[in-house]
Symmetry: C2
Subunit: 341 residues, 2 copies
């Protein structure tokens, strides 16, 4: 199991270790003859460069750390797709970890990454406290994806959640809805701005009095509870704007259990345009975020700090868009609405 080293290759090829190193790094000024000799020797021995040694010596790891908030949330999986693609192109490796990696509590994920001397860090929707992020930021460049943070040391990539929320409200308004309620995302990343966007959009439309928010938590169960609250007590809204797709699915469940037809009796909107929303069986109207693109941009921002040594923070804000499916439609006939008290 003892693996061959560069010295072994050098010996077999009859050259110096330095020359082998040059060949491995694909340096330009090596004669074809020697290069061949080295490559053949390497192949013969089954030589495999030791990345650790290389990184130690070069003080560059060509590796980016990616912290995934939640492996189960398709939003992150798709953002990682973009990160992966761009990192590949740029010749960077990825180290993935979930927020709870590392020996339970002792060493958190960020610390682990820094010990590995990653060249840069992408944190997707991290729940981490600001001081911790700031502390890490003076060791290596950091990009936040899906969370805002106004400190100069880190770049951020987001969509404008308020615009997204407004798109949702407008869509429902245009269909004729006036009683539009919101099941929010609590304090989770994206929750507050989506809620704020909802409120603002309602006011813009003169629907101040119809503003109605119940608490959610970005889970299906939260959607079930929120919908229950909205639909069983007093006057029910004609449309529900949920903070994310999962919440919308929960609301959908509850609505159907209550015998309501969606979108006949009630329109429901999600947010994120996850694969789930696209499933024919769900067919959720929702707000799309260009996740892959956001992932790519996050890598680009890192590379700019790394290669072009930019130091000013950049806040990239992508534009969300409406995806219309079949969970929304015109509100029911007003007569039916009133006949319920």
């Amino acid at each position: 199991m003892a693996q061959p080293t560069m010295d072994d290759v050098a010996r077999v090829a009859g050259v110096s270790r330095a020359l082998v190193s040059l060949v491995m790094r694909e340096a330009s000024n090596v004669s074809d003859r020697r290069r061949q000799a080295v490559l053949e020797a390497a192949a013969e021995l089954g030589y495999r460069p030791n990345i650790l040694a290389r990184n130690l010596a070069s003080r560059r790891t060509m590796t980016l750390g990616v912290m995934i908030n939640d492996l189960h949330n398709p939003f992150f999986a798709e953002a990682v797709d973009g990160i992966q693609a761009r990192a590949d192109e740029a010749g960077y490796q990825l180290l993935l970890a979930t927020e709870r990696t590392g020996r339970s509590g002792q060493t958190d994920a960020i610390e682990t990454f820094l010990r590995f001397r990653v060249d840069g860090l992408i944190l997707t929707g991290p729940r981490l406290p600001t001081p911790e992020i700031r502390a890490a930021a003076d060791t290596c460049p950091i990009v936040l994806l899906g969370r805002t943070l106004r400190i100069p040391e880190v770049d951020t990539v987001n969509t404008d959640e308020r615009i997204g929320a407004r798109l949702a409200v407008r869509h429902l308004f245009d269909l004729g809805h006036r009683e539009i309620a919101h099941i929010d995302g609590g304090r989770g990343a994206g929750g507050p701005p989506r809620r704020a966007g909802y409120e603002r959009a309602m006011r813009e439309l003169g629907l101040d009095d119809a503003i109605r928010i119940v608490e959610g938590n970005f889970t299906e169960e939260g959607g079930v509870r929120g919908a229950d609250q909205l639909l069983t007590g007093g006057t029910a809204p004609t449309a529900i704007f949920a903070a994310n797709d999962l919440t919308a699915v929960g609301a959908l469940d509850r609505a159907e259990d209550l015998g309501l037809d969606v979108p006949g009796d009630l329109s429901i909107m999600g947010y994120d345009n996850t694969a789930m929303a696209a499933m024919h069986h769900m067919s959720l109207t929702t707000i799309d975020q260009p996740r892959e693109e956001m992932g790519r941009i996050a890598v680009d921002l890192l590379l700019e700090r790394l290669d072009d040594d930019r130091t000013a923070a950049i806040r990239h804000v992508a534009t969300p868009s409406l995806v219309t499916r079949s969970s929304t439609g015109p509100p029911p006939d007003p007569r039916q609405l009133q006949s319920d008290p």
Copy 2:
């Protein structure tokens, strides 16, 4: 940005580098006085061990490579949860990658892992050719999860897919179904054994003549097509056993589009018990695999090879179980069935 090294800490603490090393590795025979001095110096300087140097010197990385077949498939996410948990306990780090990591085509994921000198490798549901896996296996221990491979160098962790398939068929049989069709998984990992299990179970029940298989591919779309084939041409089955949950969802869609009530007119079963199946709105009867446990076991197998230097291959086969939800029920009244010619 120049990070402090062990020598810096040693200087500040007034001890040798070797002693700092001992403290960092939590060695036992260091006096409390010195230990304190070292820890204080380290804290003061903001010292952070360089894992690369450590790994290089110790020839152990305490890192396991995990190749994830598909980041979007919840099955793998949950298996990784188990792997993560167990690795944490054992003090191992995880390096995750998807099968298509690495500079496009040049260096595949496995090679990358080996260059990083991971101590062990877990491949979840890999589509990789056998020779490649075998080649990697003589460099470091390998465990396959969710795929069988009968070569002595690698351990495997699976569920007995045939038993799982039989559970599904029996469940439907017990409900009264006789016309039970199968939408298979093609050549994807798990596809063939599930199909074989279906066939065998049908025979055991004397339903040889009712065996009916259409092709699928583990996707929703495959489910839609498969269901279409089964439900629109000639005599329709009363129950469909789909190769996985996604396929089942597709079948569900198609069935509902055709105006069939599930489970009133048609029962549908999935496989995997993904979070999707559990969603209230879907509520799919399905076969559960203990994914987290499988993940933990995979790590254990690796550790046995690493620490107890076991060399004989182990094939762990977990037991699948039936999860009954509301997509299955008794077949419709026979009279209705016949009235369709």
